[in-house]
């Protein structure tokens, strides 16, 4: 093999090892018997999974993360889909600027946007005399900022591959505008919307930076509970919790892939 070829193959292997090894290591450690992680383990056990479920901070973090992700999707995906349709199918001026604006939450660093939201919530709290930071509503509001740009991006991409003539044909054949939308446009957009839901859900579920300042006692997300735990120790219990998250996300990806080929949306 020529040195160039060797470099090419070696590079591919190195890249995939670098990407996948940490996940593989965590899954392996979650079955190790010893509480203090060491290689090789003295035996294997499922005990740490029970331990992870029994720890209230992980359990409540998991539930909060799931709730926030579902609610953020319910608000952000319809709003984002509508915006993508509006941008693509209307004669709006400054279309490029609108798209950039909708995608801007992806460009502003999460920690910056999170800080700005935190200050805004505190100000609103004082004026309105109600809690916003540390509430489910506050977290959902923040995570809508993740769902909108991901939806606009994915749905816009799938709109570009659609033939507008089909909608015109339906209209010519006497379908009313809402019938065109419900019976033609929406079914054609389904793969894009499914992908948008998956990306929005996962981006919300695993988000750390945007969320850091907005959590409160009893209202904290799984990634934040995990990083708090990790600052003290890394043990098989954490690995078990992480493995549950990994399996959940893998399952979501495989289900989504049945509706829409993920290799075509990314």
């Amino acid at each position: 093999m020529s040195p160039g070829r060797l470099l090419y193959r070696g590079g591919i292997i190195a890249a995939y090892v670098l990407m996948l090894a940490p996940v593989a290591a965590l899954v392996a450690i979650s079955f190790f018997r010893d509480e203090i992680v060491s290689f090789p383990p003295s035996g294997f056990t499922l005990h740490w999974y029970a331990n992870g479920f029994a720890r209230s901070e992980f359990m409540s973090g998991f539930i909060v993360s799931a709730k926030v992700a579902v609610l953020a999707c319910l608000i952000g995906v319809p709003a984002g889909t509508a915006a993508a349709l509006g941008i693509a199918r209307s004669n709006l001026p400054f279309k490029g600027a609108f798209t950039t604006f909708m995608l801007s939450p992806l460009i502003v660093p999460g920690i910056v946007a999170g800080t700005a939201l935190y200050l805004t919530f505190l100000m609103a709290q004082n004026r309105l005399d109600m809690d916003i930071t540390g509430t489910l509503g506050g977290l959902v509001a923040a995570h809508v900022l993740l769902a909108i740009p991901w939806t606009v991006r994915v749905v816009t991409a799938s709109l570009q591959g659609l033939d507008g003539a089909v909608e015109e044909a339906a209209a010519n054949l006497g379908a009313r505008p809402w019938q065109v939308f419900w019976r033609v446009t929406l079914p054609m957009l389904r793969p894009g919307i499914v992908a948008a839901v998956m990306f929005s859900f996962i981006q919300s579920f695993e988000n750390l930076e945007l969320t850091l300042l907005l959590v409160g006692p009893g209202m904290s997300t799984l990634p934040i509970e995990m990083i708090n735990y990790l600052e003290f120790r890394m043990d098989p219990t954490l690995a078990a919790v992480a493995t549950v998250q990994v399996v959940l996300i893998a399952a979501l990806m495989l289900i989504t892939d049945r509706f829409v080929k993920l290799s075509r949306v990314v």
Partner: protein
């Protein structure tokens, strides 16, 4: 139809636009340890952030870690991206999912994985000791090295997928023509493939650079207590010291430096990437 833009537009305006404006205003206020934030209009927070040695060092650390990580990520991504882009079998969609998977698993989980790999009792040290290559563990965790490895690992899938999308759009015939005309594989890469994939390099590097500048979990978990980057520094201003004006100024400096660097990058690469 145009009205469809309104709900999402208003939400982004309300949840991002207005908060950014408020934070901008706060960054010109002053801080008093006793009375916390005081209304004012001063550049003092910005001056402090760039003149105070501690914070200047944090900014420089963040910049060099981000630049180095972006560079290594770009180099490492070319092989897998090309492989993925030119694959024709049914494995292609499976490999795409496999590349996307670590990306979606989340930064905290993967940082935890790097702790398990790089620690003194971690997998790598255990393997090296098992092979008899070392007698004492090599200190890798809580070093800048660990942070760069962790960041590169976290952002690499983005780069691979972005580059693969662009390489897929480059006709295979362009490479074949160059090869038929006698170009060696390395010449094909440097004279044909690399110039044609520069838009992908630019898009990927911009995204990756933003993620690096913004990194929170990786420096906190893999860098140890003495290693400081911007995102954790901003967070600390709000949680440890409650110095809102200075924290707001730090956040804006992070944003402006990020935008400035990505603009310089697109000017440098973009000029060459433009089709002749």
């Amino acid at each position: 139809m145009a009205a469809l833009v309104l709900p999402a537009g208003l939400l982004v305006l309300l949840l991002l636009g207005a908060p950014m404006a408020l934070m901008a205003r706060y960054s010109f206020n002053t801080y008093d340890p006793l009375y916390l934030m005081q209304e004012a209009f001063t550049w003092a927070n910005y001056t402090k952030a760039v003149t105070d040695e501690f914070y200047r060092d944090i900014l420089f650390t963040t910049l060099w870690v981000s630049l180095l990580s972006t560079f290594i990520t770009t180099l490492l991504a070319f092989g897998p991206a090309y492989w993925l882009a030119r694959m024709e079998s049914s494995w292609k969609s499976k490999l795409t999912i496999l590349t996307l998977f670590p990306l979606l698993v989340g930064g905290v989980v993967r940082s935890a994985g790097y702790i398990a790999l790089l620690g003194n009792e971690g997998a790598i040290n255990a393997a090296l000791r098992g092979l008899g290559l070392i007698s004492h563990p090599i200190a890798m965790l809580y070093t800048p090295f660990a942070v760069v490895v962790g960041i590169v690992g976290v952002v690499l899938p983005y780069m691979v997928l972005t580059l693969a999308a662009v390489i897929e759009g480059i006709p295979r015939q362009a490479e074949e023509a160059a090869a038929n005309l006698g170009a060696r594989p390395s010449t094909v890469f440097f004279r044909v493939l690399l110039p044609l994939s520069l838009p992908g390099v630019l898009a990927g590097a911009t995204l990756v650079f933003i993620l690096c500048m913004n990194a929170y979990a990786t420096p906190v978990l893999l860098g140890g207590p003495k290693f400081h980057m911007m995102a954790p520094a901003v967070y600390d201003q709000f949680t440890r010291v409650s110095n809102w004006p200075f924290g707001a100024a730090l956040a804006f400096i992070l944003l402006v430096v990020t935008i400035l660097m990505t603009s310089i990058g697109s000017l440098l690469i973009g000029r060459r990437a433009r089709p002749a």
